[in-house]
Symmetry: C2
Subunit: 557 residues, 2 copies
Amino acid sequence: MSPPPPAAIEVEAVTDTTAVTIPDPFTAPFKPNELYGRRRKTEKSQWGVAAPVNTANFQLQKHDHKPVAKRWDHRMTHEALSREGASLKKAAKYLGLPGMISLGGGLPSSEYFPFESLSVKVPTPPHFSEPATAASGTTLHAGKHDLANGRALYDISTAFNYAQGTGSAQLLRFVTEHTELVHNPPYADWRTTLSIGSTSALDMALRMFTHRGDILLSEEYTFATAVETAAPLGVRVVGVPMDAEGLVPAALDALLSAWDDARGPKPFLLYTVPTGQNPTGATQGAARRRALYAVARKHDLFVLEDEPYYFLQMQPYAGPGTPPPPPPASHAEFLASLVPSLLSMDVDGRVMRLDSFSKVVSPGARIGWVTASEQVVRAYARHADVSTQSPCGMSQLVLWKLLDEHWGHAGYLDWLIHIRLEYTRRRDVILQACERFLPKEVVSWEPPMAGMFHWLRIAFTKHPDYPAKSIQELEEEIWLAGIEAGALVMRGSWFYADKTAPHDTMFFRATYAAVPSEKLQEAIRRFGDAVRVSFGLKKMENGVENGDAGKNGSEVK
Amino acid sequence: MSPPPPAAIEVEAVTDTTAVTIPDPFTAPFKPNELYGRRRKTEKSQWGVAAPVNTANFQLQKHDHKPVAKRWDHRMTHEALSREGASLKKAAKYLGLPGMISLGGGLPSSEYFPFESLSVKVPTPPHFSEPATAASGTTLHAGKHDLANGRALYDISTAFNYAQGTGSAQLLRFVTEHTELVHNPPYADWRTTLSIGSTSALDMALRMFTHRGDILLSEEYTFATAVETAAPLGVRVVGVPMDAEGLVPAALDALLSAWDDARGPKPFLLYTVPTGQNPTGATQGAARRRALYAVARKHDLFVLEDEPYYFLQMQPYAGPGTPPPPPPASHAEFLASLVPSLLSMDVDGRVMRLDSFSKVVSPGARIGWVTASEQVVRAYARHADVSTQSPCGMSQLVLWKLLDEHWGHAGYLDWLIHIRLEYTRRRDVILQACERFLPKEVVSWEPPMAGMFHWLRIAFTKHPDYPAKSIQELEEEIWLAGIEAGALVMRGSWFYADKTAPHDTMFFRATYAAVPSEKLQEAIRRFGDAVRVSFGLKKMENGVENGDAGKNGSEVK
C-alpha cells in the first residue's frame, strides 16, 4: 500500500476558471466558517425551513473540466427511475415571490415546538478527552429563532421542522466540503445527500439497483446485516475471495469472466468495505483499490463503497514492545496518510460512497451521507422524500453546531487524528494481548490497519476432533468454551456472504472498540485459555503455559 | 359523531388479575415518572446500550382476558415473513452473565462521543406559550453517564450509541402507556415500536403487505406522498368515495362486493387518515369508524390507520361571531372528547396505527410509533433493524427528557390541550375570513373539526368558461389567479388517489397551521378576490363587494 503524495491542494477561484494553487490551506490562518476563505456566497433562501438545496453550490473548486458521470439507467430499477419529485413541491417555486402568503405547505408553526433553546457541551480542540471536555469544554447554544434574528444560519425553528430528503443545506455544505477535501472526486457532476446512516443507505441502494433474483457481490466474509438486508429482497450475496488486503480483484475478474448464467444473472453490483472491513479488519491498499476499480470498469459494475471505518485508519503497527510512530504532524500529512478511496479514483461515476458519522461522532445521531453522480443522488433523495422523509433535524442541528460552527474543518480533522491515535492504542493493546495469551500454534492474525475488528484464524485441522467434527461443530465448541471462560467473541460463520457455499476456514471476530484495556487483555487471556482447552494444549498461568486446564474456567458461572 | 362516555379508567393490579377500577387517575396526586403509581418494575438491563425491549412489559393493565390478534401470514409479503432476527444478536443472551467481557458487538465506546452534556429549555406546564417558556421554562439536562451514575434512566452514552430497530425502552415505555391511556386496544397481544415517522412507516407497511400489481385503497382525495410512495412499488391506489365525514363505508363495501378482477387483484389493504384527513380536513365520527371497521372485517381488510392529526381535534365550531365553548375541564374530559380510534375498536388486530410526534411536538425529531399485533410489530422492528437501524437517539433522549422525566403523561396531556385550543383559534380565524371574504355563491366548505387543512369546494359548473374549459384548466386558472393576487393554496387535483379515474369535483386546500392570523385573513381575502375575478363576479373593497376587479391585484408582482 502506498499512500498518495502529500500534494498541495488545488483550489479554484470562484469567479475565475483558472486553477489557483495555494501552498497548504491547513497551515493558513483558519476561519472555521469560511474554510480558508474559499466558501462561496450561497443563496439565503436555502437555509430556511424545508428549503431545497443543490450541493454543487458548496463545492470549493470548479469541476467542469472533469468528465461527466456515466448514466446508470441500464442498472437502475423501474422503482428508482419512476420516482418523480413530490407533486406538492410544484408550488414551491412561487414561495419566493415578494409578499406571497402561503397557505400551501402543511408545516406546523414553530410556535408549537416546545423548545426554547438547546445546548451541548463539547470538546474544545485539541482537548478532546472526556476529562478535558468536562474541564475545558465549550457549550454551544442554539436558540429557537437564531436564523431570523441573524445570530446563526441554523436554529430550532428550522431544524425541528420538516425538511427535504437530502437533509439541510447547513450540514450538507459541511459534508460536501469535507468530501471534496478528502476525496476530490475525478468527475464533474458529483453530488452529496445526507442519509440516515449507511444501514438505510444500503437498503435504499438495493432498491435502486436490484430486482428479485439478482446477485450482490461482496467480500466472502461480510457485514451480516448486508446479507440480511438483501435476502428478503430476493437478492443473493455471492462472496469474492479475500486475502490479508481484503477482496482480491483478480478473483473478482475470474468470477465474472467465467460467469455461468445457470448461477443467475451476471452480477453488476458490488458491495465492498475497503477499509477495516467488517468482520475481517482487512484494508485494501491503494494499488489493490486501483486494480479493483479497473475490474469494475471491465465488467461495468456499479460499486457501493461502504466506508464507516475510513477514519479509523491507524498508525502503522510497530510490533510488540515497540512504541508507535509519531502522530501526523499536520492536517495535510494526516490526509495524505489515508488510503485513497474508490471515490477518489472514480472517473466514471460508478461508485456510490456511503459515509457515516456513526463510528467517529455518534451512531445515535443516525446521520451519514452519500456521494455519487447527480443522477444517482437525485434518485436517492427522491426516494428519501417518500420514505425516510429527512434525517433527524435535532441531530443535524447538533452536528452542525459542533462541526461547522465550532470546530470547522480543521477542528474536525484534529478530532479524527485524536480518534486515530485512540484506536491505535486500543489496537496495540489487543495485539500485545494476543501475542502474550493466544496459542500461536493454532491461532494466527494480521495486525489490523483500520477499523474496530481483530480477526483470529483458527487452524482447525490441528484440532484433535477434526475431521470427526465439522468446522461448524468445532467453531461452536470453541465459542461456547470462550463464553464459559467469560469471553464473548463473534463466530466467523455468522459473516459468510453465502452460507450455502463451501467454507474451509475458521475465524473469530474480536472488537477492541468497546471495552477498556484491562478488560480487553483479560478477555483475550480467557479466550486463549478456552482455545487451549479445546485443542488439548497446555494452559497458561500468569502468562506462562501450564497443565491445569480447568483452573481459571470457574471465574464465570 | 358521539364521543365515548367519560368513563372511569380501569387499571388492573400488576400482581393480580382482578380488574381494579380507580375513580379518575387524572385527579389523583400525580407522579410524572410513576404514572399514577401503576408503573411496573422493569428489567434494569433494558435501559442499557442497544438493549432489546418487550413493550408488553410497559402495559399498565393486564390484557390476557382479551382475544388474541389474528395472524396475517396470508396478507404479508415473503419479504416480511422471511426476515429473521439479526444473526449477530444470537450472542446477546450471553451478555448478562456475571463477569462476562464482550468483544462481540461492534459498538464504539462512548468515550469517543464528543458530547459531555445536552440541555434543552422547555415549557413548564401549564405555561406553554413561547413568551412564557422564555420567561419561566425549565432547563432539562442530560449528562453523558447519568445512567451509570444513577442520576437518570437515560443518558448520552446510551442514547447516542447504536440501538434496536424498536427504539429505546425509555421512550417506548412512555408511548406504550400513552397508547394504552388513549386507545386501550381490545385485543391481548398489542405491541408498540418506535418509527422514524409515519412517512417511513407507510413505506415499510407497503413492503410488508403489498406486491407489485396490488391495489391500495384510500380516500378518493388523499395524501399525495402516500400515492407517490406506492406508485414506484407498482402499487396502484384506488380511491373510495367520501362525504363530509370522510370515507364512506357503504361505498367501500359496494366497491369490494362488486369487485371486478379485471381491475386487478381484490384489494385487502386500506390506508385511511380518519381524523383531519389530508387534504380534505374530514374527520370520521365514531359511528362512521365503527361502520368502517365492520366493512374491514367483512372483506378481511388490513387497515393502516395514519393519525398524525389525532390530537389536532379542536373545540366544536360555534359559528361566526360566537365564542368557542370552554376548554376541557380535566384530562378525563379531554380524552373523552376525542373520537375513538380504529385501534380502540380493533378486536381482530387488523389495524396498524401510525402515530407521530411531528404535528404535536416536532417534525424534525423524526419520531413516531406504530401500534399493532405482536406479529406485525415484530416484522416491522426486524425490518427496521436492517433499514432505518433505529430512530435517532438524540431525538429520543430529548423527547424522553421532555415527555417522561419532565412533563409526564399529565403534563403531555396539558400540552395537547394547549395545542387543541391554539388550533381551534386558528381554525376559527380562517372560517371567519372565509365567511367574510369568499364568494359563497361559488365557494363552499365544512368547518374542519381536526387537523391543519381547510378544503374549499368550487362550484366550477357556474364558471362562465365551463364546459368550454375542463375542470383541470379552470382549476389551474383560479390557482394562478390566486398566486397573482399573492395567495398560494394547493390544487385539489394534486391529491387525487387515482389520477386516471374521472373526477367531477374541484377543490383547493388551504392550511391554517403555518401563518399568523393577519396573514391568514389577508390570504383568504386575496384568494376570494381571485375567485371573483375568475368567475366574473363583483370584487370586494374593505370587505364589501364592488365592481373594480383589478384594483387589489397589483399588490403583489
